[in-house]
C-alpha cells in the first residue's frame, strides 16, 4: 500500500507521467463530472420538494453551497500546494497552484452572485455584510491577488513561487478573517444567512445537494487537470518528450 502510494507520488510529481495520467483520466473525468453535476442540479432544481418557509427560492442552495465550499476548499488546496512548492520545490505543485486559481475565483464569484440572488427574497436586499458573504468577498479578493501577482511576474517558476508564498499567507489570513467577521456580526446583530436549518433539511434535499457538490468538485478537478496539462506542456516544451509528442504523427 505504502509502496504504491510513494510510487504514485513520484510518478505524478514527474511532469511527463503527470501528462500521461491527465491525458488518460480527462476523457472520463470531464463527462462524469458534468453528468453528476447535472443530475444533482436537475434533481435539486426540479424534483426536490418545496421548502416549508422559503418556498422555491431555497433551491439556489444547490448552486450556492457547492460553489461556496468549492471556493473555500480550493483556496485551502492552493495553500497546501503552495507549501509543498515552497518546502520541497516540487514543480508539479507549482503547476497545480497556478491551475487552481482561475476556477476558484469563478466559484467565489458564483457563490457571491447566487448568495445575492438568495438574499433578495430572504433578507429583502441583494447585499448584506453578514459573516459568510463578507468572508467570501475577501476570499475572492485573495484569489484575484494571486492571479494578479502571477500575471505580473514574467518568469513562470518565479511567478509560481511568489504565488505559493502569497497563498500560504492567504490561508492563515482566511482563518482570521472568518473569525473577525463573525465577531463583527455579533457586535451588530443582523440577519444572518443560515443554511437550511439542520432540522428542516430532509433526505429529499440532502441527496441532490451532496450530488451537486460532488459534481462540482469533480468538475473543479477536471478543470485543474486540464489547465495543469497545458501548463506542463508549456513549461517542458524544450524537453525531449514534448518534442516527440508534438512531432507530426506522434502518439503517446
Amino acid at each position: 500500500m505504502w509502496k504504491t502510494l510513494t510510487r504514485w507520488y513520484h510518478q505524478l510529481s514527474s511532469p511527463r507521467y503527470f501528462y500521461r495520467f491527465a491525458s488518460a483520466v480527462l476523457p472520463w473525468l470531464m463527462p462524469i463530472a458534468v453528468l453528476v453535476l447535472l443530475t444533482g442540479l436537475v434533481w435539486g432544481l426540479v424534483f426536490a420538494p418545496v421548502e416549508r418557509y422559503q418556498g422555491n427560492s431555497y433551491r439556489i442552495i444547490f448552486i450556492h453551497v457547492p460553489a461556496s465550499s468549492g471556493a473555500l476548499m480550493g483556496y485551502i488546496a492552493m495553500g497546501v500546494a503552495g507549501l509543498i512548492a515552497l518546502v520541497w520545490r516540487l514543480k508539479m505543485a507549482e503547476v497545480m497552484l497556478k491551475a487552481m486559481a482561475p476556477f476558484g475565483a469563478v466559484l467565489a464569484t458564483v457563490s457571491l452572485a447566487t448568495g445575492a440572488l438568495w438574499g433578495k427574497p430572504t433578507w429583502g436586499t441583494y447585499w448584506q455584510w453578514d459573516a459568510r458573504m463578507t468572508s467570501m468577498l475577501i476570499l475572492l479578493f485573495l484569489y484575484l491577488g494571486i492571479i494578479a501577482l502571477q500575471s505580473a511576474i514574467r518568469d513562470p517558476r518565479q511567478a509560481a513561487r511568489a504565488a505559493s508564498l502569497l497563498a500560504v499567507v492567504g490561508v492563515i489570513n482566511v482563518v482570521i478573517v472568518k473569525y473577525s467577521v463573525e465577531w463583527l456580526n455579533t457586535l451588530h446583530q443582523g440577519a444572518t444567512l443560515k443554511l437550511v436549518g439542520e432540522s428542516s433539511i430532509n433526505d429529499a434535499m440532502k441527496w441532490p445537494l451532496l450530488i451537486s457538490m460532488l459534481g462540482l468538485w469533480l468538475l473543479y478537478a477536471a478543470n485543474v487537470l486540464m489547465r495543469a496539462r497545458t501548463e506542463v506542456l508549456n513549461r517542458e516544451r524544450r524537453s525531449g518528450w514534448v518534442a516527440t509528442l508534438l512531432a507530426p504523427g506522434a502518439k503517446e
Binding site: A152, S180, V181, L187
Partner: protein
C-alpha cells in the same frame, strides 16, 4: 549575528534619517485623508464620532501600505539586497532590523498622531487612549504583513497598485479588530479581550512574518 543585526538597524535608521521624506509623507497622508472626511461627510459631531474609528483606521492602514512600497526598492536597485541575500547570516537578520526601523519611524508616529485626529473627529477624550493603543498594537502587524507583499513585488515596475491588491485583503482582520476596539470603548464596554486579540495577531505576525518576508525577497531575487 547580533552584531549584524545592530549594524543593520543603525544603517536603516541612518538611511531614513538622511531621506526623511519617506516617513514624513505617510504621516502627512494620514492627517490629510482623515481631514477630508468631515469635509466630505458632514461636520456634524455625532456622525463624525460614529464613523471616526473606521476612518482613522482605514487611513492608518493606507498610510502604512503606501509607505511600504519603497521599503526594499532602493536596496534592490542598488544591489544591496543581493548582498543581504548572499551574506553568511540568515536573511531574516537584516530584514527584521529593517522592519523594526521602518515601524519605529512610520507606525509609531501614526500611533502618536492618532489621538489628535480622533479628537478632531469628535471622539470623546475617554476613548483616545484606546485609539492610540489599538494603532500601536496594529501597525507592527500592518508593517510585517505588508512587507511580505512589498518583498514579492520589489522587482516589478507596477509595484504600487499591485501591492495594494495583494496586501489590503490581508489587512482585514487588523482593521476589523482595530476599529472594533475603539467602537467597543465608545459603547463603554471592556476592551481588554479585543486588545488581547490584536496582540495575538501581532504575535503571529512577528513570529512568522519576517521569515515570510525573507523568503519573499529570495523568490523575487530569482531563487
Amino acid at each position: 549575528m547580533s552584531g549584524v543585526w545592530r549594524a543593520s538597524l543603525r544603517r536603516e535608521l541612518t538611511l531614513i534619517w538622511r531621506a526623511p521624506a519617506d516617513v514624513i509623507q505617510p504621516l502627512f497622508f494620514f492627517v490629510v485623508v482623515v481631514s477630508l472626511f468631515p469635509l466630505g461627510l458632514s461636520p456634524e459631531p455625532e456622525l463624525l464620532a460614529l464613523v471616526a474609528p473606521g476612518v482613522v483606521w482605514v487611513a492608518a492602514l493606507l498610510a502604512v501600505m503606501l509607505s511600504l512600497d519603497g521599503l526594499f526598492r532602493r536596496d534592490q536597485e542598488s544591489g544591496a539586497l543581493d548582498q543581504m541575500l548572499s551574506a553568511p547570516v540568515m536573511t531574516v537578520v537584516p530584514v527584521s532590523a529593517k522592519l523594526l526601523a521602518h515601524w519605529l519611524l512610520t507606525g509609531l508616529p501614526l500611533a502618536l498622531v492618532a489621538p489628535l485626529l480622533g479628537y478632531m473627529m469628535q471622539l470623546p477624550a475617554s476613548v483616545l487612549d484606546t485609539l492610540a493603543l489599538s494603532v500601536l498594537l496594529g501597525t507592527p502587524t500592518l508593517t510585517v504583513v505588508g512587507a511580505i507583499g512589498a518583498a514579492l513585488t520589489v522587482g516589478l515596475n507596477r509595484g504600487g497598485i499591485l501591492l495594494a491588491v495583494l496586501v489590503l485583503p490581508l489587512y482585514v482582520p487588523v482593521l476589523v479588530f482595530g476599529a472594533g476596539v475603539v467602537r467597543t470603548a465608545l459603547d463603554g464596554l471592556p476592551t481588554d479581550g479585543l486588545l488581547a486579540v490584536l496582540g495575538a495577531i501581532l504575535a503571529l505576525a512577528l513570529s512568522l512574518g519576517p521569515l515570510a518576508v525573507a523568503l519573499g525577497l529570495r523568490i523575487s531575487a530569482g531563487d
